[in-house]
């Protein structure tokens, strides 16, 4: 598979006339884009707003952030399978992307109605809280969208996410016929056979267990979100959006998946430091120990059959999902595959181990520090001049306010706000670590 990625950096954005990109300036025909969104009868309201890096602005609730990408040559479409899109295998030909730009999906729609799993993420464009995220550097076009309130949760999810993709598509279309100022060819070509063979085991959460539904919205592989055995993906498929967010944290958005620095680093060292074999994508939150162990065994088996001698492992969840992740590491090591695990850490109160199941085989760990904002010591995000989205935010007991206690409270979004309870830099964007 050979994929040529054409990058169009966006350095300025404005609502103006037609939707087009010229020398870094993106103009957006607001009425035309919104008309395309409102073509879907399930959409009750939709507005577009711009948030710029450094502005005193807060976006709430953020369900996803999408980087506009468009397939220019080759089969399929970018972000395949999501909300009914074509499922042709992607990863070949040419793709154009708008870099430095995010389309934020802003809506009150929750992931599902089974309870216990809430959209908690908000984003700031300035201040200490903003500085913790890569979005701080993005020009962000926010689609504030609400669906017909009478619809079921799954249809609402489908409708608002499709709307955000519609906006991203409209923007990406503007560079389809242009010559990209930056190009990079991604290809796993033949390399020196002496180089070690390395695979990326990328564990992504499935909402199936939490929601009770195999079609619940969330992290998707070609649009599928259910619990599935490990997938083998060419990294080009991921660059074309075959793996997408979002999940609970700001680091599990479609934008962070498409821009995963670890994937790109592994890829760019292909032929120099190692032979990069691609990605095994393992679904997590299986419900029984047997299933968890089976997935771990199968992941390691697949890695071995692919010839892997080394593996980097990441995950995007917390809690019981850890078991299939760390057991995969154990299974790999037992097959002689040398692993490095990139993960956040849990609370170390009273010197407790910070890994849920600390197995001796997981002997090479890179820590992105604590995943709880309370343990990280993140102070409340400051008051802001402008809010995009909802004017109030519910702060839930036992989560966002402190570790234990407090009560559910409805706070003005513009005011100082406790950070969402999870941080969790799944793919190593930041430079935080944690030492004694």
């Amino acid at each position: 598979m050979r994929l040529e990625m054409g990058t169009f950096p966006v350095t300025d954005i404005a609502f103006d006339g037609s939707t087009r990109w010229e020398a870094g300036r993106l103009t957006v025909d607001r009425d035309a884009v919104l008309a395309a969104v409102r073509e879907d009868p399930r959409i009750a309201s939709a507005e577009l707003e711009i948030a710029r890096p450094g502005e005193s602005v807060r976006i709430w609730p953020v369900r996803d952030v999408i980087e506009p990408r468009v397939k220019v040559q080759g089969p399929g479409v970018c972000y395949p399978g999501v909300c009914g899109r074509d499922i042709a295998t992607v990863g070949e030909g040419r793709t154009h992307r708008l870099a430095g730009l995010g389309v934020a999906e802003v809506s009150s729609v929750n992931w599902h109605d089974a309870g216990g799993d809430f959209v908690e993420t908000y984003l700031d464009m300035s201040g200490h809280y903003a500085d913790m995220y890569p979005y701080r550097r993005l020009l962000t076009l926010c689609l504030v969208v609400e669906p017909d309130a009478t619809l079921g949760e799954e249809i609402k999810n489908y409708a608002v996410h499709k709307a955000a993709l519609t906006v991203a598509d409209r923007l990406a279309e503007s560079v389809r016929g242009l010559t990209p100022p930056e190009r990079e060819v991604f290809e796993l070509g033949p390399v020196n056979p002496a180089l070690p063979r390395v695979i990326y085991i990328w564990c992504v959460h499935s909402p199936q267990a939490m929601s009770g539904s195999p079609t619940a919205f969330g992290t998707a592989t070609y649009g599928l979100t259910q619990l599935t055995p490990p997938w083998y993906l060419h990294p080009n498929e991921i660059l074309d959006g075959a793996l997408t967010g979002p999940y609970r944290t700001a680091f599990a958005m479609s934008w962070t998946v498409a821009n995963n620095p670890l994937l790109l680093d592994l890829y760019r060292r292909h032929g120099k430091d190692w032979n990069f074999l691609g990605v095994i994508s393992l679904r997590t939150e299986w419900t029984t120990q047997t299933e968890k162990q089976l997935m771990a065994n199968q992941t390691a088996k697949l890695a071995r059959l692919l010839g892997a001698q080394g593996a980097v492992v990441t995950w995007d969840a917390g809690g019981n999902e850890f078991i299939e992740v760390v057991r995969s590491i154990q299974a790999c090591e037992r097959l002689g595959i040398k692993t490095v695990f990139l993960t956040s850490e849990d609370d170390a109160t009273d010197g407790a181990p910070t890994m849920l199941e600390p197995l001796p085989e997981a002997d090479a760990i890179v820590s992105t520090s604590f995943f709880k904002n309370v343990t990280l010591g993140v102070p409340p995000a400051p008051a802001v001049a402008r809010v995009i989205g909802l004017p109030t935010k519910q702060i839930r007991r036992g989560s966002t306010i402190g570790l234990h206690g407090g009560a559910d409270a409805m706070l003005p979004t513009a005011g100082p706000l406790p950070a969402p309870w999870r941080y969790d830099d799944h793919y190593g964007f930041g430079s935080l670590s944690c030492i004694e």
């Binding site: 849990d346 181990p353 190593g428 004694e436």
Partner: protein, 351 residues
């Protein structure tokens, strides 16, 4: 800068205080002027930086048999000497001595707000008991290198006395305290991961950023009775609570659990229960609590005589993002209560 030499108080046992051997192990706490016994090595290591103003000594048995009283008396002696730093031991492999050193250092820090440091061998029981609270320098098993080890205690003690944060445990030579803190590194985590993989593949040394924890295995106990004679309790971390959640069990990061009577109940009425758990789809349990806490079937088994008795209290908490420290505490408390009530076995339903 204040150049006044530090006032240091040392703590030793009867042996290292040259007061006698095992025959004097019952000796109560006492204060001696200046550096006595092994405290002289501390004075030597201090040099101009400080003066050992007093050496406190206590017999090993006295300290082990009435630890609270011994520590209270020693803390009073420390307070009277008014030091800037307390150096206890080193205790090497001496168990009673090591535990007393750890206890005294912990108490001095907590009650007098005076920095304290001790030293002992990795296998001294004082390490596991006090390493989280106290900086314990790792020493050999015997006093053969007393001068060297006193120097390391003093170096760490001086750092603490200056109010500075010591370097990493591996660098400074003390046992990891499990006190972690955030740092910003030069490279992103992604870059560090690929660098670590390159090292590991090439067989070069690499440093994992998460130490291998001591995580004791918990063997499943054997039931020593037959089920027909056993009292069985139902315990869950799946979050079942009476409607209104009277104990305020948190929806995640739980620190509380509830004890709920099922006396006189042959089953659980869904209308009387609720579930705050945020880690799974609770709708099925709300619809029928027996899916989580099978009181109905357990009562039947009790009636049939298949089990001796169903314990009349159900314990319930929320197991999601619960810290290990709170999990261990709640588990201990529940187990103590079950044991006290004569429960023989537990069916623990987890979600």
């Amino acid at each position: 800068m204040d150049a006044r030499p530090l006032r240091v108080v040392c703590y030793v046992n009867q042996y290292f205080g040259t007061l006698g051997g095992e025959d004097r192990a019952g000796l109560g706490p006492q204060a001696m002027e200046g550096a006595v016994g092994s405290a002289r090595a501390v004075q030597q290591a201090l040099g101009e930086a400080g003066t050992v103003v007093a050496t406190l000594a206590c017999g090993d048995n006295y300290a082990a048999e009435q630890p609270e009283r011994a520590v209270a008396e020693l803390v009073r002696l420390v307070a009277a000497a008014g030091p800037d730093l307390v150096i206890a031991g080193p205790a090497f492999l001496a168990g009673r001595y090591g535990v007393a050193c750890g206890a005294l250092c912990a108490a001095v820090q907590a009650e007098l707000k005076i920095p304290a440091v001790t030293g002992m061998h990795a296998e001294n029981p004082g390490v596991e008991l006090y390493r989280r609270q106290v900086h314990i320098v790792s020493t050999g098993g015997e006093a053969a290198r007393m001068g060297d080890e006193a120097r390391r205690l003093v170096a760490l003690g001086l750092t603490l006395a200056r109010g500075e944060t010591p370097g990493a445990p591996a660098v400074e030579g003390y046992f990891p305290r499990g006190v972690t803190r955030n740092v910003v590194t030069a490279a992103s985590a992604a870059e560090r991961a690929t660098a670590m993989l390159l090292d590991k593949l090439a067989g070069r040394p690499f440093a994992s950023e998460v130490p291998r924890p001591a995580f004791p295995a918990v063997p499943a106990p054997r039931l020593v009775k037959t089920l027909e004679g056993a009292t069985i309790a139902l315990v869950t971390d799946g979050g079942l609570v009476p409607r209104g959640n009277p104990d305020g069990v948190e929806p995640l990061n739980a620190t509380r659990y509830g004890a709920y009577s099922i006396e006189g109940k042959t089953g659980l009425d869904a209308a009387q229960y609720d579930n705050p758990h945020r880690g799974y789809d609770t709708s099925w349990v709300k619809q029928d609590p027996h899916r989580l806490v099978p009181v109905d079937v357990a009562r039947e088994l009790e009636q049939q005589g298949a089990i001796g008795k169903l314990h009349e209290t159900v314990y319930s908490t929320v197991g999601v993002a619960t810290t290990l420290a709170h999990s261990a505490r709640m588990g201990r408390e529940i187990a103590d209560k079950l044991r006290e009530a004569g429960v023989d076995a537990v069916i623990l339903t987890s979600t």
